[in-house]
Structure formats: structure tokens, C-alpha cells
Symmetry: C2
DNA sequence: CGCTCGCTTGAGGACTTTCAACTGCCGTGG
DNA sequence: CCACGGCAGTTGAAAGTCCTCAAGCGAGCG
């Protein structure tokens, strides 16, 4: 989605319908250090290519260097739930069990570091930057998921979309990510709505002058 | 809620409407070691008492020893979203920022260990049981939240309740927790439904013989 | 014994989805 | 070079799910 969100207006809109008592997490971005080749393998992923798929052996976990990644779960009847979007610095794909429990795709061209899962214990035991980064990232992901839960469980379509735009605008500002080619379907599956509803709400917000015109794709 | 869920029937029901491609996480319960008094302070929390509240300084994090804890977020218009239920061994209340972003309450009488947040870094740097337990617990929480997201975003009321009963039955079995006095309102706020809808669905499942009679409170 | 609280059930209504048609853009191929 | 097909998005109408409001029930407690 390419609409430029006006945070102020959205906050105003947001305030009408129910605000969190504590401000949403400000994200806990982890700086992207450079790692010795022996532990971090750099990889380049082309547009809309899978990084890993649900059910595969979870031998690696990843840190985003540039671009965006989305992780999602599918039901066997085709319904899809996007768990999250990951920007530069974010870590994803750490599993407790032997298999990935969800899939990950690139959105646009993406660069990542791949870490061997078997190194995880060793890495965290070191008093390393990476160990802290992992801990920090996990806690940040957890916080983000809590906001997401609130969004999905207790908010109207309009609040969902507004909250989403706000969140993404903030994160994008911090991560200095270039314009993101997010599709309606992605937003819908992130928010638990249908594409049509997302489209309607965006049109509505646009008509009300709350967000800038959202040019085509 | 006191209905005894018949897992088999629920799975059957579940299979009709959409199943995950990979089985739900089996939980990553962390054994409850005993810790030296210097790092872990044991606490006893009476029934339905707050453990911490959103917005307070997040000076401690906790591990459940016995009983159950629920964490939740409130909107200022009274809507509530329960993030999760924590059973024996689970760790909760770790924050990246200085404040708690949600509140925690006991359900029934609860015993916990309280850890100083300022010790966190030291604890994780050690090659300690606790460090691993924390990492493991965080990853487990994340997995659980993903299931929760799927539940909230892409499932019908019936699927939500069924999924919830299944999940709780499994966890309770593992944690050997005694019967849980969960109220309809708690279930509703966990699933993003109204109390009435939860009640209706439970009645329906009961009529269909899928769950045992759910005696009063 | 009466009150309160949690649960249940019904009826009507609001919000979101589903189905369907239409638009504009882009790449492909004649 | 232009026509065609496909894809993403938009919009409308009808249908469905879930919520809100409201009343009734039963158990526990003062």
C-alpha cells in the first residue's frame, strides 16, 4: 500500500474510538552489526520468494538487513493469517521445536543474515552483541504481537486499518525503509479482514482527507 | 469454565472447518527449578489480585510456580483483550522498555518467583538453567501468540471456542493444573467475542454432545 | 429470605463478508 | 503499434455472523 499516512490525523481518529492506556510499543530495533562469516551467512532473496515454509526443518533463523519480510500461517481451506512484517534489524524464524511453524516470504528484494540454529545456544551464552540482540528482538516481537492481538480481537475495521497505518508509518520512519509495495490482500490478511473491507475503509479514510491519496499499485 | 473437553471430538469438529498445516505448538514448558533467594523472590498472590498493572515500572518479571495468571490490555472505553494465560513454569512480564505494557492478574491462588529485571542481563549471560529457561519461554510464548493471532483473525466463533478448549485441555494436562475457574467473560475477552456468544457456542457444543456438561460456576 | 452475580436465551440490529460486476494498468503477443 | 488477458483495486447489493439490549434463571452469601 502506498498511501502516506498522516499520523496526527490518525491519532485523532484513533482517540475517538478507544486508545491504549500505554502508548504502543515504540519498536526495539536492533542494529545490524556485521558478523563473522562463520556464524552469519548473508543471503539475497528476490521479490516475493519464499525464505522458509511451514513444516520444514527449522535449521536457520534470520535477521533482516534490508527490505521487508512477512510471515504467515495458512489454514487448509485457504484462509491466511499474516503474523507480522519484519524490517531491517528484526530477527525472525527462531523456533523451540524442530520445525518451522509458519512460512516467511520476501516483499520486494530482501537481504538477510542466516544463522544456524545449532549455534543459538552458543551464541546466547556468549556475552555477545548478538545474544542481546536476540533477547531484545524476541521481547520486542512479543510486544508487537500483543498489540496485534488487541487489534484483531477488540477493534473495528476502521480502527484496525488506522492502527495498522500508524504502526507501519512509525516503523518505516525508524527503519528508513523505502516505500513498501504492500498489497490490499496482505493488509487484509494481517488485520483479519477481507480485501474488499480494507479497500472500502481506505477509500473512506481518503475521502475524509485523513490519509493522502493512495495511488494505484 | 469447567467443561471437560473431549479432545477427539473437538479435533473432529476442528477438522471440518480448517486445520493448521502443522500441529499447534505443544507448549514448551519450563521446569520450575528452585533458585537462590538472592535472585528469585517467592511470592504468594491471593485469588483475583493484581500482580502488576499496565504503566507501572517493570522492575520484575515472573515465573509461575502454581496456579494460573492472565495478562490483559484495556482500551479506555472498557474493551479488554486478554493476551494469554500462564500456567506453572511459564515466564511472563519481561519488558524491553521501562514500563509494563499490560496488566497481570491471578486466577485462583497463585505462587510465583519474582526476578529483578536488572538481573536479566546478568542471568542470561550466565550459562544458567534460568537463561535457557527464559529464552525457551520467550520462544514458546511467541509461538503461542501466533496461534492466538490465527484464532482471532481468521476463525469463526465456533472455531475459536473449540480451539480454545483444545488448547487449554492440552496445557492443563501437561501442567497438571487443577480445575480452572475461568469465567465466560475471560474466555470472551481472550477470543475477542462477547460473553453471550461464548455462552451460546458452549451451549451448542454441549447440545451436540461434543463437550461434557458444563456445570455452573 | 432477598440480593447479587454469573450464566443463559431471545429478538433486533450493526458490521463485515460474500458474490459479482466494473475499471485501469501493465505485459504479452499478434 | 495496438489488442487482449490478467491482475489489483474499487464499488454495490444481498446475506450472514456476531453484537447489543433485555429478560429470566439459579446458586451462593449476607
Amino acid at each position: 500500500m502506498s498511501g502516506s499516512a498522516s499520523a496526527n490525523n490518525l491519532v485523532k481518529l484513533f482517540g475517538v474510538n478507544g486508545t491504549r492506556r500505554t502508548p504502543a510499543v515504540d519498536g526495539w530495533n536492533v542494529r545490524c552489526a556485521s558478523y563473522p562469516q562463520t556464524i552469519a551467512e548473508p543471503r539475497l532473496v528476490p521479490n516475493r520468494r519464499k525464505i522458509f515454509t511451514e513444516g520444514e526443518a527449522a535449521d536457520f533463523f534470520y535477521q533482516v538487513v534490508s527490505g521487508q519480510v512477512r510471515t504467515y500461517t495458512m489454514l487448509d481451506d485457504g484462509r491466511r493469517q499474516i503474523d507480522g512484517f519484519y524490517l531491517a534489524g528484526d530477527i525472525f524464524g527462531i523456533e523451540a521445536g524442530p520445525l518451522y511453524r509458519f512460512s516467511a516470504n520476501s516483499i520486494g528484494e530482501v537481504a538477510v543474515f542466516a544463522f544456524r540454529r545449532s549455534d543459538l545456544e552458543r551464541l546466547t551464552n556468549l556475552n555477545s552483541e548478538l545474544g542481546k540482540a536476540i533477547l531484545f528482538s524476541l521481547v520486542g516481537s512479543l510486544a508487537r504481537k500483543q498489540d496485534h492481538l488487541l487489534l484483531l480481537g477488540r477493534k473495528s475495521a476502521k480502527e484496525k486499518v488506522a492502527g495498522f497505518l500508524l504502526d507501519m508509518a512509525q516503523r518505516a520512519a525508524r527503519a528508513t525503509t523505502s516505500g513498501m509495495p504492500l498489497q490490499r490482500a496482505d493488509i487484509a490478511d494481517y488485520l483479519g479482514l477481507s480485501r474488499e473491507t480494507v479497500s472500502r475503509v481506505l477509500s473512506q479514510l481518503s475521502r475524509d482527507g485523513i490519509i493522502g491519496a493512495h495511488a494505484g499499485r
